[in-house]
C-alpha cells in the first residue's frame, strides 16, 4: 500500500502548489544599461534610484514634466475633495475618443491648479465623476478649481508597447527582447535616441511622423513588420511611449557620462567601498539636482528640434524629369571619388564596396575594428545596402531616397552628403532607383 500513500502526497502537493505556478510572477522591469554596470555599486544605485524617481517602473510610470512628451492630459473642474475621494467633471468626456482614453486613467497623476501632484488615480467612475486617489499627500484641492489628470496616454502606450513591441525591442527599449536573438538584423536599441530613417536634417532626431511612418509601413528587408491596421490613436500613443523610452535611455547614458570620471570601477580599483558611498551621497546632494535639470533641458531641446518645421528636410528643387541623362549623371556621381558611394555600395551597387573588406575606424572612436567591415553606432556589423534588390528600408519614394542621400542614415556609416547640389542628389536618386531594373535587364542578356 506504500505507493498509494506517495501518490496521495504528490496529489495534495500538486493541488497546493498549482496556484503558485512554476515561473516567477514578477512583472516587467526596466533593465540597467551596460555602461551603468561599469560604475561602482554606490553610483549604480544612484543611477537606478534617479531613473526610478524620474521615470518610474513599467508598472508605475512617472511623467517627468520637463520632457517634451505628450503624456495625455485630462483637464477638469474639481467639485469635492476630502483627501482621498475627488469628484471631478473632466472636459471632453462623451466623445468616443475620450471615453476610450478613460480606461487607461488608473495610475494617472492628479495635479491641482498650482501643478502640485495630489495623488494617483486608483478608480474613476465616469457616470458621477467620482475619483478615488491613493498616495495622497498634504496638498489640497479647493473646490471649483481646475485639476489636471496626467498620464493616460503614456500608460496606453506602455500597454500597447508591451503587447506589440516588447518581445523584440525589450522592456527598456534596449533591442534585446526575448525574440531578438533570432534575428540577423538587430531590433533597434532606442536608448541612444537615434533612429535611422528620418525626415529631418543631419544631426536632428526622428520626428513623431517618422516613427509613425515606420510603425505603419514596417521596414522591408528586416523583421520590423507593418502595423498598418492599428488605429491612429494607438500609434500616436506608441510613438510617445517609444520617445519617452528613448529619453529614459539617454538620461541613463548622461548620468553615466557624468559619473564615469569619478566613479568608474576601472579607475577606482584600490579605493575603499565606504569612501564611495560618502562621495556619491555628496554628489547626489550637491550636484545631481542641477545636473538632472540640465539633462532634462537638453533633452527637451533636442527632441523638440526634430518637430521644428525648419528641420524638416525638403528639396529646394523638384525632381524633374527622370531620363537617361539624369541617370547617367547619377551613375557618374556614384562612381565619383569625391562622393564615393561606390566605396561602400560597390561599383554595381551590390553593397560589396571595398570598405566592407577593410578595417575601418569604429564610430565615435579612433580605434580600428577588429574584423573588417562597417559598424554602426550600436556596434553591429552592418552591410551597405545592396541596391539591386529593390528593397528600401527607409521607404521607396524619391523623397525617401533623397533624404537618405542628403541627411544620411543616422547612427550608421551612411553619412549625409550636404555638399552636393539638389539636382545632383536627384540624379543620384534617379540612378539608385534605376539600379534594380538595370541589373534585371543585364542578367537577361
Amino acid at each position: 500500500m506504500r505507493p498509494k500513500v506517495h501518490l496521495l502526497k504528490l496529489l495534495v502537493a500538486a493541488i497546493v502548489l498549482s496556484p503558485f505556478g512554476c515561473t516567477s510572477k514578477r512583472g516587467p522591469e526596466f533593465a540597467s544599461g551596460k555602461q551603468t554596470g561599469l560604475l561602482v555599486s554606490a553610483a549604480q544605485e544612484l543611477v537606478r534610484s534617479e531613473l526610478k524617481s524620474s521615470f518610474g517602473t513599467p508598472t508605475s510610470l512617472v511623467a517627468w514634466q520637463v520632457l517634451p512628451v505628450d503624456y495625455g492630459v485630462f483637464e477638469g473642474k474639481a467639485t469635492k475633495f476630502n483627501g482621498q475621494d475627488l469628484v471631478v467633471s473632466l472636459k471632453g468626456i462623451g466623445s468616443n475618443a475620450a471615453d476610450r482614453r478613460l480606461s487607461n486613467l488608473s495610475g494617472s497623476v492628479v495635479t491641482n491648479e498650482a501643478g502640485v501632484a495630489i495623488g494617483e488615480v486608483t478608480h474613476y467612475s465616469p457616470s458621477d465623476g467620482a475619483m478615488r486617489l491613493s498616495n495622497t499627500g498634504e496638498a489640497k484641492i479647493e473646490s471649483d478649481t481646475t485639476v489636471r489628470v496626467i498620464g493616460d496616454g503614456l500608460q496606453f502606450g506602455r500597454d500597447l508597447y508591451l503587447r506589440h513591441c516588447m518581445h523584440c525591442h525589450g522592456v527598456s527599449g534596449d533591442g534585446d527582447g526575448p525574440t531578438a536573438k533570432y534575428f540577423a538584423v538587430k531590433p533597434r536599441d532606442y536608448r541612444r535616441g537615434t533612429f535611422k530613417f528620418t525626415s529631418t536634417v543631419q544631426g536632428v532626431r526622428a520626428s513623431r511622423d517618422d516613427l509613425k511612418r515606420i510603425i505603419k509601413l514596417g521596414i522591408p528587408g528586416t523583421y520590423m513588420p507593418s502595423f498598418m491596421l492599428l488605429p491612429d490613436d494607438e500609434i500616436v500613443s506608441l510613438v510617445e511611449y517609444i520617445r519617452w523610452l528613448s529619453m529614459r535611455g539617454e538620461v541613463e547614458n548622461s548620468l553615466y557620462i557624468e559619473l564615469s570620471n569619478d566613479f568608474s570601477t576601472e579607475a577606482n580599483k584600490d579605493k575603499a567601498r565606504a569612501e564611495f558611498k560618502k562621495e556619491v551621497d555628496n554628489f547626489a546632494a550637491s550636484q545631481l539636482p542641477g545636473k538632472m535639470s540640465e539633462i532634462g533641458r537638453d533633452l527637451a531641446e533636442t527632441w523638440s528640434a526634430s518637430e521644428d518645421e525648419a528641420n524638416l528636410l525638403l528639396p529646394k528643387d523638384a525632381r524633374g524629369n527622370v531620363d537617361g541623362d539624369s541617370i547617367k549623371r547619377g551613375r557618374e556621381l556614384f562612381l565619383n571619388k569625391d562622393v564615393g558611394c561606390f566605396s561602400c555600395h560597390g561599383e554595381s551597387g551590390r553593397g560589396n564596396g571595398v570598405s566592407t573588406e577593410t578595417f575601418n575606424k569604429l564610430p565615435n572612436s579612433t580605434e580600428l575594428s577588429k574584423v573588417p567591415g562597417l559598424f554602426d553606432d550600436w556596434g553591429n556589423l552592418v552591410k551597405p545596402r545592396d541596391l539591386t534588390t529593390g528593397i528600401y528600408r527607409g521607404g521607396r519614394r524619391p523623397l525617401d531616397i533623397y533624404r537618405r542621400i542628403r541627411a544620411g542614415i543616422k547612427g550608421t556609416p551612411m553619412q549625409g552628403f550636404s555638399r552636393l547640389e539638389d539636382q545632383q542628389v536627384w540624379d543620384l536618386t534617379n540612378y539608385v532607383l534605376s539600379i534594380p531594373f538595370k541589373a534585371h535587364s543585364e542578367s537577361k542578356h
Binding site: 511622423d209 507593418s226 525638403l314 523638384a318 523623397l399
Partner: protein, 276 residues
C-alpha cells in the same frame, strides 16, 4: 433501468433534430455568411454534406435505439448470427460508395472554378501581387491604367497589409512567399490558399459587398504568425481608382509638389484607416 440505454441512444438523434431545427434562427451556422458568389457555393457544399451526415446520424441512431428498445424484453437466449450475409455486405458497401461518388461529382464544378487555372473566369482583373513574408503581407499594384507584370516595374505601387479591390468584380492576385510557407486566408470570402516559396499562385475572388474582410495567415509560419493581420477592402470602382491614384501620388512624392507640408506625407496611410 432496463430502458436506460435505449433512451440514452434515442436522446442524441432527438437533440440533433432540435439543433437542426433551431440553428438557422439562432445563427449557429458559419461565423459569417459568405460575401462572395463562390463562397456561397462552397457554403452550399458544406450544407449538403451536413444534411447527408445529419440524416445518416439520425437514422442510424434511431435504428440503434429501436433495436435496443426491442431487445429489453427479449427473452430469447440465442442471438441471430448475421456474419457473412452477402446482401447486407453489398448494401453497406454500395450505399456509402454511392454517396461518396455523388459528393465527389457534385463538388467538381465549384472546385474547378476555384482552383483549376484553365477554367478560371476570363474577365478577371489582376489587381496585385501579394508577397507573404514573416510577418506581413507586402502588396505590389501596377501603376494606374497599367497591367501587372510578373517582374517589378519602375512605376509599380507598393503597400503593406492593406489589399484594396473593386467590389462586384472578379479579381485575381498573384500570391508569393518571401520566405517560408504562409496561407492567404480571408474567411469572409471563403478564400484560403497556401503561399509556397518559389511559386506564384493565382488566387481569384469576387466580393459582393463593400466592406473590409479580415485577412490572416492560416499556416503556422513562425513565432510572429499571429502578427500577420491584414485586410481586404472592397470598395466602389471609383474609390478604388482614387486609392490607386493616391498611392501613385505618394510613391512619386518628391517633397516639392504643391502639398509640401509635412502632413501630406502621411496622406496615404491615414486614409487607409479612416475608411473603416
Amino acid at each position: 433501468m432496463n430502458k436506460f440505454w435505449p433512451c440514452f441512444f434515442m436522446f442524441w438523434p432527438v437533440l440533433a433534430i432540435v439543433v437542426f431545427a433551431i440553428s438557422p434562427s439562432m445563427g449557429w451556422w458559419f461565423p459569417t455568411e459568405a460575401f462572395s458568389p463562390l463562397g456561397k457555393q462552397i457554403d452550399n457544399l458544406f450544407y449538403m454534406i451536413l444534411i447527408i451526415v445529419g440524416i445518416t446520424f439520425i437514422g442510424t441512431h434511431i435504428g440503434l435505439g429501436y433495436v435496443l428498445w426491442k431487445a429489453v424484453d427479449n427473452k430469447e437466449p440465442k442471438a441471430w448470427f448475421s456474419h457473412g450475409s452477402h446482401n447486407l455486405e453489398m448494401l453497406w458497401s454500395i450505399a456509402p460508395a454511392g454517396i461518396l461518388m455523388f459528393i465527389s461529382l457534385y463538388q467538381l464544378d465549384v472546385w474547378t472554378r476555384y482552383r483549376v487555372q484553365s477554367k478560371y473566369p476570363k474577365d478577371m482583373l489582376t489587381v496585385a501581387e501579394v508577397t507573404a513574408r514573416q510577418f506581413e503581407w507586402r502588396i505590389r499594384y501596377p501603376a494606374p491604367g497599367k497591367k501587372l507584370l510578373p517582374s517589378p516595374q519602375p512605376d509599380d505601387l507598393y503597400t503593406v497589409n492593406d489589399l484594396h479591390v473593386p467590389v462586384n468584380r472578379r479579381v485575381l492576385i498573384r500570391l508569393k512567399s518571401g520566405d517560408v510557407q504562409h496561407s492567404f486566408f480571408v474567411p469572409g470570402l471563403r478564400v484560403k490558399q497556401d503561399a509556397v516559396p518559389g511559386t506564384v499562385i493565382p488566387v481569384w475572388f469576387e466580393t459582393l459587398e463593400i466592406g473590409d474582410y479580415d485577412l490572416t495567415c492560416a499556416e503556422l509560419c513562425g513565432w510572429g504568425h499571429y502578427k500577420m493581420r491584414g485586410r481586404v477592402l472592397a470598395e466602389r470602382q471609383s474609390d478604388y481608382d482614387k486609392y490607386i491614384k493616391s498611392l501613385a501620388h505618394d510613391q512619386g512624392y518628391d517633397g516639392h509638389n504643391s502639398d509640401r507640408d509635412g502632413s501630406a506625407e502621411l496622406v496615404k496611410i491615414e486614409k487607409a484607416t479612416d475608411k473603416k
